[in-house]
Symmetry: C2
Subunit: 412 residues, 2 copies
């Protein structure tokens, strides 16, 4: 295999900029929440690109879209490349998107050069990676890997009470294909680092050796409405106060373990009725906690469990963990990591080992198939913010590593 | 004047129950936020009652509705009776409503008995007393008393960005009359106590001698969006955490002064973007504080001002008081209070002196006209809750006191 085989960087950039024009945010990023109108428009664009390239498109019951470039032995398990095209509310132009469009660029590069592969290569756009509209994140790879049923996913509701299944049908992307259940030879996900390490070190590629053990929780606080005026302090059951105490406790737990790079976040708070003049009767707080070591995460979870009864007693509310989920404890495939290292060395691409602190669909895929991730730099580590940015020149080494490793795997 | 002159209790109850059927809440109370469809329907009902009784109806530019029963000397300043027909989100069936419909019952009783009065008697339904949709509460009596302009009121926006003026026009209740600016002989407001004192003592009438000095604030917290995963604790600017710290500080200040019956409330919190996975970039917290003495309230306000920089520093956000308003420091008219006392004595109605802890339109009216308030019992002091309830038999002494005092004043 020629080491000068390379993707077309300006074509990749052009596709990224087409994406950036779909659901453009008020500050130049992207606001493309899953299963909304901009998400539909982006899916239509991907569909058009698939047709243009002659790649068969299949859509599964949960809306995940797969483009296929057939191999010469199409019965062999395919090589899968993927990420997501949905974004956060104040999302950047590259988070997830780069991984899908780098996959598309790999297919196009192989076509340009007339390279046939033994195995089929597929590119997937996972539905609802971000979890910004439907909780939890990485929802459809969760089902794809057999950890949840499609029915359960379809029944998730957003803050307006809209069901995932109805939103998906509403944008016309409920497909006929089953969710998961087939063999994959290897899964590659290229993603911006979402942290500052590569950018600071001037290294173009991070080889992801694992994730941060992480957990998410939905915490419910029950109080009672009453007039904010005459009701004595000792007779109040203000759900807002209970939730605020939990939010502060979560933040304190994050700080208590900040020295080992752990984090704890109170991210979303919904209140009922949330009006001046009346104490709130109900609150829901979404939190997450992440730590480099499972032991640290377990300590943090125990601290939070211990804090909840105090918050409940002090606010005179009832507080419980209504839902809990975990991610980040997994192993990427040693053989694939070895392939990434060896290929980077052959291509003279500098790399460093990294652990991911964000959630990725690759975590779930890794449960049922060999999987790995390539990180590329993002400026200052800024992400989930419209200012998120990359340099194409610092990104191309990673995309070329994807091309070469996917090709190697597809020919084995 | 005959002391056996009395209102028709069952007719009053019937009108209260008609009101209870308009915007009925899920738990048997009323959800009739100002300038919504249920508010329009209730206004239509009041209009129908005015037509039925032959009372001229005038509607001012801000939608406040006034029914008029002309006196024999119509050029004399009228006697005004009033309260409000809007409710909280989880509102009761009597808060405000009782005062308007007791006023209507006074007019009807005078008609029943063919009693003419020297002065005109009017009954007013103030727009947006509750402040549950447009902040601050008592918005239109504020303008009526010259403390705000109608233009400013019309420009207030609700949480969906809808202007007060547009919402008012939308339900068809923007009237031709100017707001305030005319002389009133006396203002009477009958209201449920919204506290437990009368109910506990078994006394049917509270004579309101004053209010609790109170303040409201809208506190703005500015942060920055970022990914909840990789962003280190020390690089976060989570507006949710800043707001939660302020909410806890407000609650602590309430407890620090609870022994003297002061209160501090974090009532409403709006977050942007308020999604899992992303730190919030903006928060707005609505708080109020009330105390029996001005000095205590000033101490509480100083404590909060001192706490804000700490909350800002600890949460690494910018926190400021974006808006502040006060109410409750006022004097009701000594002559009217004397009239209430003397009349209650003559009618053998037990009374006790009370101070109001809630806000009322009477506070604003008192700035420009002689005003007073009559409190009647509410069970267990429960209010701003759908379980709010009254006994008719415990309420009628107060309504009869309203009848006799309004009549005395209308004939002077």
């Amino acid at each position: 295999m020629a080491t000068n085989l390379s993707v077309n960087g300006s074509r990749l950039w052009d596709t990224l900029m087409v994406s950036a024009g779909i659901g453009t945010g008020p500050r130049g990023g992207i606001r493309r929440l899953t299963l909304t109108e901009p998400d539909r428009a982006m899916r239509d664009q991907l569909k058009a690109w698939a047709a243009e390239g002659g790649y068969a498109l299949s859509i599964d019951r949960l809306g995940s879209m797969t483009l296929r470039r057939p191999g010469t032995e199409p019965d062999l398990p395919p090589v899968l490349i993927g990420s997501h095209l949905d974004t956060q509310w104040a999302g950047g132009r590259f988070d997830g998107i780069l991984g899908v469009l780098a996959g598309l660029e790999v297919l196009r590069t192989l076509d340009d050069l007339g390279i046939a592969t033994k195995r089929t290569i597929e590119v997937v756009n996972w539905t609802n990676e971000e979890g910004a509209r439907f909780s939890p994140p990485m929802l459809c790879s969760l089902a794809w890997s057999g950890q949840a049923t499609p029915e359960w996913v379809e029944g998730r509701i957003d803050r307006d009470g809209i069901r995932f299944g109805d939103a998906l049908a509403g944008i016309g992307y409920r497909g006929p294909e089953p969710v998961g259940g087939r063999r994959i030879d290897a899964y590659f996900e290229l993603h911006i680092e979402q942290g500052p390490a590569l950018d600071a070190a001037g290294v173009p590629v991070g080889i992801v050796t694992g994730g941060y053990p992480s957990c998410g929780m939905r915490i419910a606080v029950e109080g009672e409405t009453a007039h904010t005026g005459p009701t004595p302090m000792a007779e109040r059951h203000n759900a807002l106060v209970g939730a605020a105490m939990v939010a502060v406790a979560v933040n304190d737990i994050g700080w208590a373990h900040a020295a080992v790079d752990a984090k704890a976040t109170a991210a979303r708070l919904d209140l009922v009725p949330n009006l001046p003049g009346t104490l709130s009767e109900y609150a829901e707080l979404f939190i997450d906690m992440r730590a480099p070591a499972v032991e640290t995460l377990e300590t943090m979870k125990a601290s939070l469990r211990a804090a909840l009864p105090d918050c409940a007693a002090r606010s005179r509310t009832a507080i419980r963990i209504a839902e809990e989920w975990g991610f980040g404890v997994f192993g990427f495939d040693a053989e694939l990591i070895g392939l990434l290292r060896a290929t980077a060395e052959r291509l003279a691409i500098p790399t460093m080992d990294l652990r991911s602190q964000a959630g990725h669909d690759a975590y779930h895929v890794a449960r049922v198939a060999p999987a790995c991730m390539i990180f590329t730099p993002c400026k200052g580590g800024i992400t989930h913010n419209e200012a998120e940015d990359i340099d194409l020149s610092a990104t191309l080494p990673g995309v070329n590593l994807l091309l070469h490793t996917a090709l190697a795997r597809a020919n084995r």
